[in-house]
């Protein structure tokens, strides 16, 4: 089974997985890096993004290139209300945020069940086309996702290093009080960071809904993915997300194909546990005091 055709397919599949993992984890790490908030409700926003896309694209038939970003925008804008009334109380309080946002996650999830009931739906992909290169076969939709993931990573990096607001965010992440002393409006920065994070989550959720399924409960696996990626790469680190996402995607693809599902799970969990014990700040994260 270890021939080059299969290995290529496995690698390509792995990158496809990584792309969606990266998108899911980006917003999560942003919220942690800047506001020290462990966003247990991250999956819920992804799920909402999925439903937004379901209505805008699947139901009302807006063109895909309009529907996808619009869906994410709608969710992010609506979430700003939550920023004001919920998140604000948890900034810089890691432990409280974990449990409190867990509550938010539960509330959103079950409101979704009331609104849309529990049945699983699917959102049609942007394109049904399959790409076939020799023996290699994969859906074109994954190319779209991979492209967007790459663009997002690049955009993030440029934003936080070369624009005013981006640098203000990094300053707030490093030490919010000093940043404020320098004139950074921390609550505006927080709102911006929150908006971007939820936007990314909702966008990822849309892709997830197209690739896999949509139900009020699909936020949970996405949250798990975000967690694992961010632990691997380091909480608060953008390059860490890229690295963690790639590692996880390729590992899942490789281990799953050659050794089955149980092996894949055990190794992933095992690696994460070892990392948490010996190097909890991840591969590229910053060591905390």
């Amino acid at each position: 089974m270890f021939n080059s055709a299969v290995l290529t397919q496995v690698a390509v599949d792995g990158i496809g997985l990584s792309a969606i993992y990266i998108l899911i984890a980006l917003g999560f790490t942003l919220l942690f890096g800047i506001m020290r908030v462990v966003n247990f409700a991250h999956g819920a926003f992804a799920m909402l993004g999925g439903y937004a896309l379901f209505y805008l694209y699947g139901d009302w038939g807006l063109p895909y290139l309009v529907a996808a970003p619009l869906a994410a925008l709608v969710v992010a804008a609506a979430a700003l209300v939550l920023e004001r009334f919920v998140y604000r109380f948890f900034y810089q309080k890691m432990f409280q945020s974990m449990i409190g946002l867990l509550g938010l996650d539960m509330a959103i999830m079950y409101l979704a069940v009331i609104a849309w009931n529990a049945e699983e739906r699917s959102v049609p992909p942007g394109t049904e086309a399959l790409v076939e290169v020799g023996d290699l076969v994969f859906p074109a939709q994954k190319l779209i996702i991979a492209a967007i993931a790459a663009v997002a990573l690049l955009a993030f990096y440029l934003f936080t290093h070369y624009t005013r607001y981006g640098r203000a965010m990094r300053a707030a992440a490093q030490d919010v009080e000093i940043a404020q002393a320098q004139g950074v409006n921390s609550s505006a920065i927080y709102q911006l960071a929150f908006f971007i994070a939820v936007f990314m989550a909702a966008l990822a959720g849309g892709f997830y809904a197209q690739t896999y399924a949509l139900s009020p409960f699909v936020g949970e696996p996405q949250l798990m993915i975000a967690f694992v990626v961010v632990i691997l790469g380091g909480m608060g680190s953008i390059p860490g997300v890229a690295l963690g996402g790639l590692l996880l995607g390729l590992a899942n693809s490789f281990l799953g194909t050659f050794y089955g599902s149980a092996a894949s799970t055990f190794v992933t969990f095992g690696a994460v546990i070892l990392l948490l014990i010996f190097r909890p700040w991840g591969l590229l994260g910053a060591k905390e005091a």
């Binding site: 919920v86 432990f95 449990i99 867990l102 509550g103 938010l104 999830m109 632990i231 055990f266 014990i277």
Partner: protein
């Protein structure tokens, strides 16, 4: 501080501890809790529970009561860990281990129930002894994550080790502790007895030197270490005790429901225990007791509105974590002070 410290005092009147000293409130602010921990209240509640079956309640009420008692034991055991400053999101796994061990001990090895319960205590305790020294070094959020993953691993073992655990289909036909205890009323007293003894034990623990050391650890580990408290050793000891007690709760549940399977001891249940502690109050033993009442009884009132229940729990969690870190147990104090910030 616990409402049962006085019950225990009454039973062990020969104890050296001076009556006044043991009733002194804990270092954490919560003076309004005094009415809950007042000897009279505790005695009345315990008496009421003892007399409950005689008031002609139907089997359903007794059944819910037993579920409450078992959950209270599990929540109180988690409380031990929480008081050292760590929140475990994998506690139900230790309950599960106790449940499986007890079921297998009585069914395959034909051991008598008391012995099975001892094993149900020892097995998870031993596992805790193994992993404790490693994971208890981790701080807040990392500990949560590791315990969560640990819980998942244990569950996966339950699911895959089919020859021993029956896999996803579990073990059916777990016997009652003895033919006498197959009836609802005797089992009620069995569960009640376990709960009272265990709560008394925990309360006594918190009232002792060890309890003060635990508080010191929670408030500031470095400081406690400098003061000579053997921090890691104490945390591991408490962790081992807590997991053992959880095993007992699991065993009771197994012999009560008469069937165990991996889905009964998964993340959902761990989460429920955490919510109970957080919402009820993380700084006092009364907390998990109030939390258990809240979590077990509320669904009974809201049956038929399951989604709303969950939404409600979620909102309560947010509110508690944002404003009343001390949970319900501290409510009285907060109301008195007019909504000022909670204890921590």
């Amino acid at each position: 501080m616990s409402k049962l410290s006085t019950l225990q005092r009454g039973q062990l009147a020969a104890q050296a501890a001076p009556p006044g000293g043991a009733a002194r409130p804990a270092a954490v602010a919560g003076t309004a809790r005094r009415w809950l921990t007042h000897p009279a209240v505790a005695a009345v509640v315990a008496l009421a529970l003892v007399l409950l079956p005689f008031t002609g309640q139907d089997k359903f009420v007794l059944s819910v009561a037993v579920t409450t008692f078992i959950t209270a034991i599990a929540a109180a055991s988690l409380h031990l860990i929480v008081r050292t400053g760590h929140v475990s999101l994998g506690h139900a796994a230790f309950m599960g281990i106790g449940a499986y061990v007890s079921a297998l001990a009585t069914m395959r090895l034909n051991l008598p129930f008391p012995l099975a319960v001892c094993l149900a205590f020892l097995a998870p305790a031993a596992l805790a002894l193994l992993v404790g020294p490693v994971v208890l070094r981790l701080t807040g959020k990392y500990f949560v994550l590791v315990t969560f993953l640990f819980g998942e691993i244990v569950r996966t073992v339950f699911v895959n080790w089919t020859e021993v655990t029956g896999g996803s289909n579990g073990i059916f036909g777990v016997p009652a502790p003895s033919p006498y205890f197959a009836e609802p009323v005797p089992f009620y007293y069995l569960a009640l007895g376990f709960m009272l003894v265990i709560l008394a034990l925990i309360a006594r623990l918190f009232n002792s030197e060890i309890g003060r050391a635990i508080e010191a650890i929670r408030e500031s580990e470095p400081l406690a270490r400098c003061s000579g408290v053997p921090v890691l050793r104490l945390k591991v000891t408490i962790f081992v005790l807590a997991c053992g007690l959880a095993g007992i709760a699991g065993a009771l549940q197994g012999h009560f429901v008469r069937y165990i399977d991996p889905t009964s001891f998964a993340t959902d249940q761990s989460l429920t225990l955490v919510v109970i502690n957080v919402v009820g109050g993380m700084f006092t033993l009364v907390g998990p007791i109030l939390g258990t009442l809240f979590m077990v009884l509320l669904p009974e009132f809201l049956r038929g509105y399951v989604e709303l229940q969950h939404v409600f729990f979620g909102v309560v969690l947010i509110l508690v974590m944002a404003f009343f870190s001390g949970g319900i147990a501290d409510m009285g104090q907060l109301l008195r002070r007019g909504g000022a910030k909670g204890a921590k």
